[in-house]
């Protein structure tokens, strides 16, 4: 309105803008910058100039080094290019699997639980509290509990479901598949309370008259759920879908919680539980920040594309 007073607005915004600049914008831009620097040294802050190489190496399109390997026929040592890093071998597939397995499954389970919780009248408050307890429980503590549940060959999980031996989930003898199963199980379980809470609050906002109207129209329960409840819950479903995808793409702390300090089921299978964010974190420790930055920027782009696609799809499907 009055452009004279604009400086006042900026003044009010200043604290937020400064904090955002220091902790969000600067690191973001810096990360993008580093991701294009060849052989960047984090300690000395020096590099060999601009390059796309970091991206190519992270994606396995360019060899990350050459190894002298004896030729099969002649036995001569040949410099052989090595393409497949742990990022390509584990972090990317693991992250993709975690995302596309845990997000849909946890949303479906949370939806079913919220609908059931919403339909009971007595003790609802009690159940709501019980269901929400995991959310306020320390993640590392929960991880430790899960490592007990999946421990050894005769942990609680195997006992409850009567799974025959040998079935090791997370310890030394566990293979990739078992480890991934336990991990997804844990992530889904951990993510339920928040989703249930959001869905439940959405359900309680749906006007009862719609259900009365559906009753007058003799609609069976399943039809009411699929044609009325879920469409009217679509804003919450969209919100949960977007935030869950972002969260799953960035999965890191669940691996620490379940497997401890190294992202692997056993030392003989190094990095087999690696995710992209875990990899990014590791690169800081061993001075390969330029690779970590490239991976982080790639992840950022993937998340961005995903969110945009979800928003586009939602334009047709979400009813506010």
């Amino acid at each position: 309105m009055q452009s004279k007073n604009n400086w006042k607005a900026w003044l009010y915004l200043a604290p937020v803008l400064i904090l955002l600049s220091v902790f969000t914008f600067y690191p973001l831009i810096n990360t993008i910058g580093i991701s294009f620097l060849k052989n960047y040294d984090y300690m000395t802050q020096t590099s060999d100039g601009f390059t796309f190489e970091n991206y190519a190496i992270v994606l396995g399109l360019q060899p990350y080094r050459y190894m002298p390997i004896p030729d099969e026929v002649t036995g001569e040592l040949v410099q052989t290019p090595m393409y497949i890093t742990d990022v390509v071998k584990f972090a990317i597939p693991n992250t993709a699997i975690i995302t596309f397995v845990t997000v849909p499954i946890s949303i479906l389970i949370a939806l079913a639980m919220a609908i059931c919780l919403n339909s009971i009248t007595s003790l609802r408050k009690v159940f709501q509290t019980i269901f929400f307890l995991p959310y306020v429980t320390n993640g590392i503590a929960v991880g430790m509990v899960f490592s007990v549940i999946f421990a050894g060959n005769s942990g609680i999980f195997n006992a409850i479901f009567g799974i025959p031996e040998p079935n090791y989930w997370i310890n030394v003898s566990a293979d990739w598949g078992h480890g991934m199963f336990a991990l997804c199980f844990y992530i889904i379980w951990k993510s339920l309370p928040y989703k249930v809470l959001i869905f439940l609050s959405g359900l309680q906002n749906i006007d009862n008259q719609y259900y009365d109207a559906a009753k007058m129209d003799s609609a069976p329960k399943m039809r009411v759920i699929s044609k009325i409840t879920i469409p009217l819950l679509s804003p919450q479903v969209l919100y949960i879908t977007i935030t869950s995808f972002i969260g799953a793409f960035k999965e890191y702390d669940s691996i620490v919680g379940l497997f401890g300090t190294a992202p692997q089921t056993s030392p003989s299978r190094p990095n087999n539980m690696l995710t992209i964010v875990y990899y990014v974190y590791n690169t800081i420790g061993d001075n390969r920040v330029h690779y970590g930055s490239a991976a982080a920027v790639l992840l950022f782009v993937v998340i961005l594309v995903f969110t945009v696609v979800e928003m586009q799809v939602s334009k047709k499907r979400v009813h506010y």
């Binding site: 006007d207 009365d212 009753k215 129209d217 003799s218 044609k227 009325i228 009217l232």
Partner: protein, 386 residues
């Protein structure tokens, strides 16, 4: 189909902790709603009209009493099984569905009887030689035909692809009626269907409801707090007050012969003029004016006297009642008088008369049409017939 409510009662338990007393929303209501008629449940807000309607619909369970549809006791039947079309006060259209989908929504839930045949083409017969039927769903084509014919009936064909939010109140109203009617229910229930519409649309839509009801011949219960609305379209009205039924009858009948003061004051625009009067051995007095003879020997005591606005006679030879004319408004063919009399329970008496009569401000005396004056007991407010 005839609907009979027998001693229908609904109590809502209060909460002693929060000092909320029990509410008797509907008290011992006994009404018969004749087949094919449009019946209005009329009463002020909070008198239990909606509760009655929801009990008929099955969405609320009566505390006691019975509900009969024809010769079937439906008191304990779930709403799904009652075959009722209900139009909610704020329509409750599904906001995420198009008009078409809203209207079509009840149809996939319906099962129709389909005659069964053997593979050879022979009809399946039971031991008595009757055709055996089995239920089947409606086909897509049948659903489409029903939606379109109902849309045509309520004149919303142009809007089938719109969402409810893209419609005006009156159009939404008609969609709600279409959704209620599309499944060909035995009974149509309307809860204050016109209360969300503006004045002009209200008159138009109530005529529309009347037309649709006559065209389909469906037994209809219409809830309203607006007496004019009920009077103008209902075959019969049920006047309620605080959960208790006051009077049932054709609108004109109830208007002309109110059984108590509440009914008399609730019906009519402008409303009836009420005076504090006295029953004496020789007649009924307002102030010193004797307005009626005590032909039936009622005991002396206080009474209320109601005179309809159209009940005053000026320019004749009768002069039993006196009042002071405060102002005169000529409205085309009619004159509206505002007058005063100390016995009137309101500051102003309203009188309507033909504009051929010359009226001036000041004290006047007039006659009263005997069919427009009613006397009510001063305590029970019940009608005293004279």
């Amino acid at each position: 189909m005839e609907i009979r409510l027998k001693n229908l009662t609904k109590e809502f338990p209060g909460d002693p902790k929060k000092n909320i007393p029990d509410t008797v929303a509907v008290d011992n209501l006994t009404v018969t709603i004749p087949d094919g008629e449009l019946v209005g449940l009329l009463g002020p807000s909070g008198c239990g009209k909606s509760t009655t309607l929801y009990m008929i619909a099955g969405l609320k369970n009566p505390t006691s009493g019975e509900i009969w549809f024809g010769d079937q006791d439906v008191t304990n039947l779930t709403p799904e099984k009652r075959g009722i079309g209900l139009v909610f006060q704020n329509y409750a259209l599904y906001p995420h569905m198009t008009v078409y989908k809203n209207v079509a929504f009840p149809l996939p839930n319906i099962r129709v009887e389909k005659p069964r045949f053997y593979r050879s083409g022979e009809p399946v017969l039971d031991e008595n030689g009757n055709q055996v039927y089995s239920p089947r769903k409606l086909t897509k084509a049948e659903i489409d035909a029903l939606v379109r014919s109902t849309a045509k009936l309520v004149q919303i064909e142009e809007y089938l692809d719109r969402k409810p939010s893209q419609l005006s109140g009156g159009q939404q109203q008609r969609v709600a009626i279409a959704r209620a009617l599309v499944k060909k229910p035995r009974v149509l229930l309307l809860d204050e269907p016109l209360s969300n519409l503006d004045a002009r649309l209200r008159i138009q839509t109530r005529e529309e409801i009347r037309r649709i009801q006559k065209e389909t011949g469906i037994t209809t219960v219409f809830v309203t707090h607006d007496q004019e609305e009920a009077m103008s379209i209902c075959d019969k009205i049920v006047v309620m007050k605080l959960g208790v039924q006051q009077q049932i009858g054709a609108p004109q009948e109830v208007y002309n012969d109110p059984h108590n003061l509440f009914v008399a004051t609730f019906l009519g625009t402008p409303p009836i003029n009420v005076f504090k009067g006295r029953m004496e051995t020789d007649g009924v007095y307002i102030g010193s004016d004797k307005v009626l003879e005590n032909t039936r020997g009622y005991k002396p005591g206080p009474v209320y006297v109601g005179i309809r606005p159209e009940g005053f006679i000026f320019g004749g030879d009768r002069s039993e009642f006196g009042m002071r004319v405060e102002n005169v408004t000529v409205m085309g063919r009619d004159i509206l008088l505002n007058a005063s009399n100390p016995a009137c329970t309101k500051p102003l008496i309203k009188a309507e008369l033909s504009s051929e009569i010359k009226m001036e401000v000041g004290d006047v005396r007039c006659g009263i049409r005997p069919d427009k004056i009613y006397v009510f007991d001063g305590e029970t407010e019940e009608r005293l017939y004279l």
